[in-house]
């Protein structure tokens, strides 16, 4: 059987060739940038006033302005206006935050450091403190220079990147195209959500769960259900393989007599890259790709906890290209004994401690069929194959699913 880390490497090595598209900036949140974004001009683009107050001059050969002096205010320079010109070095220009620094001025003093009075129709500013040259000015190009790379290819766009792209005039951005994803549940025991099941049937839950999880990741998926009829399975999968980039199947991959999924996929030219992983839950997981750069097929075990765990562990990293946040770790709060030589993904409820560590309390459940157990759980802790005992206080990889 394949180990978990090897299985993940195999899955990731079959990511499809990246396709890109140009979309409106506002829709680009969460997407992965497929072109570099450069500064179109300096950041800031001009010497920018950072406080409401007055701008004044420090002129060579003249004494610097000092506390106690009273300066005539020549005019008011608002944000968005062309720069005013100070006509006399001993005067001042009133300035607003965000305005360009008036020509002939070299510092800004805040209202809080002034007393402004009116006399004979003119306004005067008495300095409470001695200003320093350059004070309260955000200098042109101080943060970035025109032509600087702001956002490299592969950046996942958060609100900060959207703001920066807007400021350099990018009303559209080239990003990685989202794959078309089909979610396909199989199993004759399953009825639709709105139906009343017979006592020996259950309602489909994997389809809605996966579609919801994908929606949360920004992907619109379509949902299908197929019965355990071999011919029907083959016909429909043939169609879906032609129309979608990624197929997420659930069910039909174990050793059961109606578990046709692996055979049918092989007949349809989907090359198997792995089947059966040394893990619990989710051992029967199957992964393959249609030859010639075709669809990637994840055939997930049908038990809801197994489906969900395999989705989190293998499908999410496969779909989440670009630079991502590092994987989290959490600390086991109770010693766990697990004999089989398998990676054990134990459902855990988490809590933060004072140091910001994630504490993970293992939940005892009835195994992969007990998906009500997921309600109390925030994620899974990955306890590696090998040891029989995992001691309280140790840190392990953590797969969380709540935001």
């Amino acid at each position: 059987m394949i180990q978990v880390s090897e299985a993940l490497s195999i899955v990731l090595s079959h990511r499809p060739v990246i396709v890109t598209e140009e979309i409106p900036l506002i829709q680009a949140i969460g997407r992965v940038l497929a072109e570099p974004v450069l500064a179109d001009r300096d950041f800031p683009p001009f010497d920018r006033v950072t406080m409401d107050g007055i701008a004044l001059a420090f002129t060579e050969g003249l004494p610097a302005p000092i506390a106690g002096e009273v300066l005539l205010i020549e005019s008011t320079q608002y944000a968005g206006e062309k720069p005013h010109q100070l006509t006399l070095a001993a005067n001042a220009i009133e300035v607003m935050t965000g305005a360009v620094l008036p020509i002939g001025t070299h510092a800004v003093l805040r209202y809080e450091d002034l007393d402004v009075t009116e006399r004979d129709g003119q306004r005067w500013a008495a300095l409470r403190i001695s200003p320093e040259s350059g004070q309260n000015i955000h200098r042109r190009g101080e943060d970035r220079r025109a032509g600087n790379l702001l956002l490299p290819v592969g950046t996942r766009l958060s609100p900060a990147e959207i703001a920066v792209a807007a400021s350099v005039g990018r009303a559209t951005l080239r990003v990685q195209t989202n794959p078309r994803v089909a979610v396909i549940s199989t199993g004759d025991e399953l009825v639709a959500v709105q139906e009343t099941p017979q006592p020996y049937q259950i309602r489909r839950s994997n389809g809605p769960m996966l579609v919801a999880a994908l929606a949360q990741a920004g992907l619109n998926a379509e949902e299908f259900h197929l019965t355990d009829n071999r011919a029907e399975l083959k016909n429909h999968l043939h169609d879906l393989l032609g129309k979608y980039d990624v197929l997420l199947l659930s069910g039909g991959v174990s050793a059961g007599k109606k578990d046709f999924v692996p055979d049918v996929l092989a007949e349809l030219g989907v090359e198997k890259h792995l089947h059966q992983i040394a893990q619990r839950p989710g051992k029967p997981f199957w992964f393959g790709t249609k030859s010639g750069g075709g669809a990637a097929v994840f055939a997930l075990p049908g038990n809801p906890v197994s489906t969900f765990l395999c989705y989190q562990k293998y499908v999410v990293p496969f779909l989440k290209t670009g630079k991502n946040q590092p994987e989290r770790r959490a600390i086991l709060t109770e010693t766990v004994t697990f004999k089989p030589n398998l990676t054990y993904f134990v459902p855990v409820a988490t809590q933060l401690d004072e140091q910001g560590r994630l504490l993970a309390r293992p939940l005892r459940g009835s195994g992969s069929g007990d998906f009500a157990n997921l309600l109390d759980c925030d994620g899974f802790l990955e306890l590696p194959a090998g040891p029989d005992e995992f001691v309280a206080g140790e840190a392990f990889g953590y797969l969380g699913f709540r935001v």
Copy 2:
């Protein structure tokens, strides 16, 4: 000036009355549940076979089946079929995972523990091990009982809750209605993203940033821009106050001569609850509500870093009702000196250590105007007002914005 924690309490105390709506299950991901969801039947709803193999009987008065015995297979019980009936206690019924346990059987033995052979048109299973009564059966009602509360009111719906709601037949769910949000930037220095600014102008970035951040939180917001014209501001805000539940303004709340926002809001009957917080950046933040349960108005400072920080600190918790994940903490990796008696939200780049602790490296920038700095930053560390020095190794509240 108001302290940060008090400001947050004031903001949260003015959350609007909760309105609810019924929406399709698939669309409910990330929403907050407004009705309890109960189990409509037992979980599992029947004695459920958990392995592919054979089901056999443990009958009182008869010896228990043991390793080496060979049992006649009477029939095959598939998932989704009505339960078969074992006719003779010494025989067995082949069973598939997910099937109901056949009537008259009491344990399931896996294929791995059997040798199945065919003879005279009949199939026989030789037991490699001695089965135990109850083995590989997930008992009816073992996880939850019909009528049990599965999802309480106030639950934020993750994929796990969607799966459980599906399984109890909830094709729709009553959830909290999303507020209608308007994002309004102000400032005469601002031009649209697609325009070429004059040397003394800049492009609007707060609008796209906030709309993108809201979209990521599952909220569709509309974007507006108003100039610093008092009459225009008043007219438009009057309109918007009638049409939206939440207004997010940026700019126009400082001491500048065109900072009309607070006055205009007062004239429009928006009651001020706070203005100016003892924090950096974001000191000029203003918050009020229209009397009579009307719109909530967040007037955020216009500098992009201030806007974004105030959005994260005040607007996100206001909008994120229901039970949420606990706030994160991160550990300062370098000592920071900060003299003013203000809460200092320092931009940080984060990294996880082996224990899963978030390490936060403070980024030196040019202040609230330097929003290119946000690109290197993953969030803000909240260093409380009071101390002048924050020592490396201490943990503080962390506001992250990357997912």
